[in-house]
Each structure stands twice: as C-alpha cells, then as structure tokens.
C-alpha cells in the first residue's frame, strides 16, 4: 500500500496534491508527574508539492524533528491534520503511509548486511516481487548513492559517510511518495556534509522524490531544497526559495537573526 502504483484515492477537486499540514500541534507528555506537557509544534501550516524538496531550518529544539516524526506517524497529532493528496493520514498506521524517514544516525540494522538493509523496505512493493527484482532494485539504489558493489559488506565496516549513503539508499528503495529526512548529514564532518548534500540533491532529483528535509545547517538547506522554511519555537516563521531568503526580503527580526 502507498506504493507508486497504488497511491490511494485520487484527490477530490479543489484539494491540494502532495503534502498538506494544517494547524499541526504536537505535545509531549511531561516526564515528571505534575509538570506541564511540552508543546513541540504549535500550530503549523505547510504545503509540499509533488516532486518538490522543502528544507526546514531551525535551531535545535524548535520542533522540526517532532513535526517530521508526526508526519511519519511516529508521534500523534494533538490538533490539526496531515493530508496527502487531500486524504487525511491520521488513521493510517506508520507502515501504510508510504512515507520514508531517514534518521540522523542512519539507524542501519546491524544484523543485516548492506544489501539486506537496502532490501528491507521492498517487501510488499513491486520491487520485492522476486529475488531478481529485489536484487536489481538494491543494485540500482547502491549505484545511485555511489556504493555499487558494497551489497555484501557488514554495515559496521563502513565509514560514517558510507553508512548515511546506505541509509539514503534504503529509504529511497521502496520509492516512498514522500521522503522525510531528519538531519541526515549532521553527524558527518563539514567537508563530507557539503559533498553529500550536493549528492542528496542529485539523488532526490534523479528519483523525482517529494521530500521534507530537516536540518540546522543553512548551507545544507540552501543547497538541497527548492524552498526553505525557517521554524522557530514550534512555528513556521518563513517559507521561501533560497534566493528570496538570501535577498532578505520581508523577514521578521527573529528569522533574520537566525539566518544571519
């Protein structure tokens, strides 16, 4: 379900295609009895068009990761809604949403080799039909991220940059209708980050993937995304193309301060 060929009912007339977030509120219960719950996302609207890559930029703790996890279905919405092609995804469990999520530290499965990791999400998709289609898709993905021939390697034997490439290949393999990337490069050093962000841009474009990309690194956001949003204290305070943001047009004080 949620695979390229079965993307649920078609949108009704007038509904936006792609990802639509309206008035999203995310709260975490208090860790101690008696204290107030924390509000991570405080009423946020966002639209990501099909094939578009949007980066969310913000200081740590601004709620951008929480928003991503909520869209993925890993956290419940306290208020508001998340729609895909006009359809509310709240009742759809995580694994049926057809959204992929790439974690900050990759979260590769240590007990599987590289190919095993990349193939994990193929079950139930056309790519997973036979051993041959699976192998073909894995090879294609590894080729895409520049790791051709690494299929039999243990993930523990890879460098940090290689591990994140595998994680990217793994997230892309099932061809998710939306890919969520949670600070995918922040654990890497600056040189590698710059190099990889260009590559991620290339890979996302090549696969035509709709993506929401969370980071706290300006350069990374500007190089990856079609549009960049700035999130501060649980709210989206700006959303524009990199050029517009760079031009510093009509930005409020906080956003300008953050971008400076």
């Amino acid at each position: 379900m949620g695979r390229p060929d079965e993307r649920g009912p078609s949108p009704s007339a007038g509904e936006a295609r792609g990802l639509e977030v309206r008035g999203a509120v995310v709260r975490y219960p208090s860790s101690r009895r008696g204290s107030e719950p924390t509000t991570a996302v405080a009423g946020l609207d966002l639209h990501v068009a099909p094939g578009e890559v949007v980066a969310l930029l913000g200081p740590s703790g601004c709620g951008k990761s929480s928003l991503l996890r909520t869209i993925a279905g890993l956290e419940p919405l306290a208020a508001g809604e998340v729609r895909w092609d006009g359809v509310d995804v709240a009742p759809v469990p995580v694994h049926r949403r057809g959204f992929g999520l790439m974690f900050q530290d990759g979260q590769l499965f240590g007990h599987r080799d590289v190919a095993g990791n990349v193939a994990y999400g193929l079950r139930g998709t056309p790519f997973g039909a036979t051993r041959a289609t699976r192998a073909e898709r894995v090879a294609e993905m590894l080729e895409l991220v520049g790791l051709a021939g690494y299929g039999a390697r243990a993930v523990g034997s890879l460098s940090g940059g290689q591990q994140q490439r595998v994680a990217l290949a793994r997230s892309l393999a099932p061809a998710p209708r939306l890919l969520l990337l949670d600070e995918p490069l922040s654990s890497l050093d600056r040189r590698l980050r710059e190099e990889l962000s260009v590559e991620v841009r290339r890979v996302l474009a090549a696969s035509g993937t709709t993506a929401l990309y969370v980071t706290h690194d300006h350069a990374e956001a500007f190089s990856v995304a079609d549009r960049v949003g700035v999130m501060i204290a649980g709210r989206l305070r700006a959303l524009a193309t990199p050029d517009e943001l760079a031009a510093d047009v009509a930005l409020d004080h906080d956003v300008a301060a953050f971008l400076r």
Partner: protein
C-alpha cells in the same frame, strides 16, 4: 604486582567455590561410585539400563522445556508492557511479578493446590495433580525473572531502529520480528537458560503439584539420597543432571556470545512511552496488554488465595494469624515468626555480602579479555562453571557438606555460617550475570584514558570501573538478598532449630495440625512476600544505566 593482584582475585573466589561447592559435590558423588576403595561404575550400566531413568530424564527435559517456553512466550509481551510502556502502578506490578520467584515452593504448592483441587475455585478445570499444574507453577515462579532480564534490555533499546523499519513499510509485527527480536535474542537466550536450569532442578512443586508420577531427575535424587540412601543411583542421576546442565550452559553461551555485538542503547526514559489503549492503539499493543493483564491476574490468583486464607479463621475474617506471628504458634515453633524474620534478614545479609564479595570479583575477572587464547578459553570455562551451582541438586550439595566439611579446618557442619554460605552459592551466579555485562560494556578506552592520566590498575578499578558498575552491584545485592530470603532447599538440611529462617518456620507450621498453625503459616508467607516485594522494588530503583541481563 599486577599479576599478583589478579592471581589473588582469581584464587580467592575460586577457592571459595572449590571448598563449598566442587569439593562437597565431588565427595558425595565419590561415595556413589567408589566401593571398598575401588572405582565401580557398574551403577551407570544398571541405572542407565533402567527405563525408569529415561522416563525421569524425559520428564525433566519435557517439563523444563514447556515451562521455559511458556514463561518466555508470556514474558516477552510482559517485558514490553512493564518496561517499555509507562502507566500508573507500574512499579507495583513489577514488584508483584517478582514475588513468586522467591516464595518457598512448599507455600506455592499448597496455594496452587488450594485453587486446583477438587473443591477449589478452579477445581472444575481438572488440573489438579497434572502436568498442567506443574508447568503452570514453573511459569509462575519464573515469569518475573524473564520479564526482568528481557525488560531491562528492552527498555533501553533505541526505539528508532524499530521506527526505521516501520517507515520502510514494515508492519508492527514484522518490525518486531526482524529488528527488535534479533536485538533481544541474547537477553532472551540468557533468561531462557536461567529458567531452564531453575525448571530442571525444580523439586517441591513437582512433587506437590504433579506427584511422583511426574518425578524429575531432581526428585529422584532427593528420593534416592534422603529416603533410600542409594548413593550409587543418586550419583549416576547427579551426573546425568550435570550433563543436562552443561548442555544448557553451552547452548546458551553460544547464543550469548552473539551479544558481543553491542546494542544501541539509550536511557530508559527516552525509550519508554505512556501506554495507550484508546482507539489509536495498534493491535499489537492491545494484544501485549491483554496477554500481560491475564498473566499478571493468573499470577495474582495463588497469591490472593494465600492472602485470603491468611485472613480467615472458622469462616470469618480476622487478623489473629498476623497477631500470632508474635507468638511461637501452638507451641509449634521455638521462636516467634518475627524472630525468624529477623534471623532470615540477618542470614540474608551475610549471604548477600558473601555472594557480592565472590560474585563481583569473579565478574571483574571474567570481564578481562586476555591476549592469549588459552587465557580466553580458561575464562570461558570459568564463565560456565560459575553457573553450575544453579543446576546441581540442593540435596547433593547439602549431603556433600555433611561428609566433606567434617574435619578441621573446615569442620562447619553444625555451624551457622554454613547457611549463608549455601545461600550465597545460589546467588553468586546471579550476581555475576548481573554485574558482568555492565563491566563488559565499559569502553576499554576509558580504562586506557585513566591509565594515561597516571592511574595505576588499582586506581583504574577503583575510580572508573567500580563506580560505573556500582548501580548494577546494588541491583545484584537486591536479588541476592531476596533469593537468600526465600532459599529453603539447602537451608533445610543445615538449619538449626533455635535459629530457623522464615521459610523453615513456614514449613514447620505447615507440618502441624490445626487451622491456627495453617493460618499462621500463610500469614508468615504473606510477610515473606511483602519483604521480598519491598526488596525487589528497592532494587528496581537502583536500576543501573547499563542493567545486566538479569
């Protein structure tokens, strides 16, 4: 100097185990296979040719396998609910499931039979004196153990691995089977091995709930040793038991070494989430909560019936059995139950100190990784040997004490110190299994860093390793203490009537006629259960950041 220190660290606990375990066991086995100064292995041919022997071995393996399988199967959802989810009253439920593990089996036997016997509330099930009753009791005893072992790893397992699987399209069930289960496998293997050993050496519950029809190797050893003094047969059976135990240890050791791949662990607070049962909850959660609720209710049933009967006399509610704890019963006892409780606490304190002293040093030794292959092999053998006391019959050890420790400097047979020693013997394997994983998880670079800053090996131990292991040592202390409180097997052979422990008092009261004595026995059992629950809950609070596999 350094080599000398390690030699002492190896020699002292080893000497303790040799003197108080290996030597007595060897001595009693020798009585069985040496006739008139000659080695006589004829007993083996005889006993092994007897179909009854194989039936007994079959029962042992069958009951242990069923008990272990069921305990593990039920405890996995239990570990999830009690360690991965948060809900009000969680600490209470955790304390409750820990209680059965240390209740004396005589009490559990009577509590179970009160429920299952023809006139009992569950009599209609027809489970009295059946395999079902035996297996149910084995699960009752060991469920909490598995929940704890598996839960302590699970609550710190990084939830994002499973979430990664979910976002790749895996259903909750598939994510569990392909990501979480492999990560839990070593803990499950470790727990299963412990439970298998406890089940395979279960004695009183098998006799009381199943009867001689379901006799296990342990029951046969007890019969042959204490009732028939047929040491030849007992020796052969003990060797068979050792073979079963050794095979279990080897199998679990194999599985456990896979654990060497370190797990991505996070702080428990980050991995747990509030339990949700509303419309949004997924089916897997509902099943886990349902299974756990039913299991906990089933565990509470015998405990509840025990509590109810401790509050009744002549068909009315009363506290008089609890008042009677301050007396010596109907002259059934030499001391009051409160005195016995005090003796129990003091004995358990000694046993705990001993078990920690030996167990922690052993864990330190076992946590080293020698360069040489022979050294690693020796440590591997020591690792397995440490577990043996769990798998050898209390009767064999008890009778071994009598014939082995009868001469100076070890003339301790009628001495009170033998009781804490016997109890410590049971706790040492548990202490090692609790502390060792923490010590093994310490990054060797920390030690190297301390050494580079000029700390000698002793100071490294003192300032780096022990502080990091401290909380697990506290936890181990709680367990050793609780296990000592409940220990009855070896204690019953060594107890002095003027210094009975609480389980001994309970046993004596149950052996006397009169509803008063019976009620007092149950009141004393409730007292024991409450003390144990308190100790376990306290130990839970001492939970280390890198809790053991136990």
């Amino acid at each position: 100097m350094r080599a000398g220190a390690w030699a002492i660290a190896v020699a002292l606990p080893l000497a303790f185990l040799l003197a108080f375990f290996a030597y007595p066991v060897a001595a009693i086995l020798a009585r069985g296979v040496v006739t008139d100064g000659h080695l006589d292995l004829g007993g083996f041919a005889e006993v092994l040719a007897d179909p009854r022997t194989w039936r007994v071995v079959g029962h042992t393996l069958g009951q242990a396998a069923l008990g272990t399988g069921l305990a593990v199967g039920l405890a996995i959802p239990g570990a999830y609910v009690l360690y991965r989810c948060t809900f009000p009253g969680r600490a209470l439920v955790r304390g409750l499931v820990a209680v059965p593990f240390v209740l004396p089996s005589v009490v559990v036997g009577v509590a179970f039979r009160s429920l299952l016997a023809a006139g009992g509330p569950l009599g209609a099930l027809g489970w009295d004196r059946s395999l079902v009753a035996v297996v149910a009791a084995l699960v009752f005893f060991n469920y909490g153990l598995v929940v704890r072992v598996v839960g302590s790893v699970w609550e710190r397992l990084d939830p994002r691995a499973e979430q990664a699987a979910r976002t790749l399209g895996a259903s909750p069930a598939r994510a569990f089977a392909t990501v979480t289960l492999p990560a839990l496998a070593p803990a499950i293997a470790s727990a299963a091995a412990l439970v298998f050993l406890f089940c395979a050496t279960a004695f009183a519950v098998v006799l009381v709930l199943g009867g001689q029809r379901y006799a296990t190797v342990e029951v046969e050893i007890w019969l042959q040793t204490t009732q028939f003094l047929d040491l030849r047969t007992a020796a052969v059976l003990s060797v068979l038991q050792l073979v079963i135990v050794a095979a279990t240890l080897v199998a679990s050791g194999r599985l456990r070494t896979r654990r060497e791949r370190s797990l991505a662990l996070v702080e428990a607070r980050r991995a747990t989430a509030p339990l949700r049962l509303g419309a949004r909850a997924c089916a897997v959660d509902r099943v886990a909560v349902g299974v756990t609720a039913l299991t906990v209710a089933a565990l509470a049933l015998p405990l509840g019936s025990m509590l109810v009967r401790s509050l009744r006399q002549d068909g009315r509610w009363t506290l008089e059995h609890y008042v009677a704890l301050g007396s010596t019963g109907d002259r059934a006892l030499t001391v009051t139950a409160w005195d016995a409780a005090a003796i129990s606490l003091r004995t358990a304190t000694d046993a705990t100190v001993l078990a920690l002293a030996v167990g922690v040093v052993l864990a330190l030794v076992l946590s080293r990784r020698p360069r040489r292959r022979t050294g690693r092999r020796a440590l591997g053998a020591l690792d397995a040997a440490v577990m043996l006391p769990l798998g050898v019959s209390a009767v064999t050890v008890g009778f071994g004490f009598l014939i082995a420790l009868d001469r100076p400097p070890l003339d301790l047979r009628s001495s009170l110190v033998l009781i804490p020693i016997a109890q410590a013997m049971v706790s040492i394997p548990l202490v090692v299994r609790t502390v060792l994983p923490v010590l093994r998880a310490i990054d060797p670079r920390l030690r190297q860093a301390a050494a580079m800053l000029g700390a000698g090996p002793g100071r490294v131990l003192w300032t780096v390793e022990l502080p990091m292991a401290l909380r697990s040592i506290g936890l181990a202390a709680g367990f050793a203490f609780a296990v000592s409180l409940g220990e009855f097997g070896a204690t019953s052979f060594l107890a002095r009537p003027d210094r009975p422990t609480l389980p001994v008092v309970i046993y004596r009261l149950l052996g006397r006629p009169g509803e008063g004595n019976y009620g007092m026995a149950l009141a004393a059992s409730v007292l024991l259960a409450v003390v144990v629950a308190l100790v376990m809950t306290t130990a839970e609070r001492l939970r280390p950041p890198h809790a053991g596999e136990w």
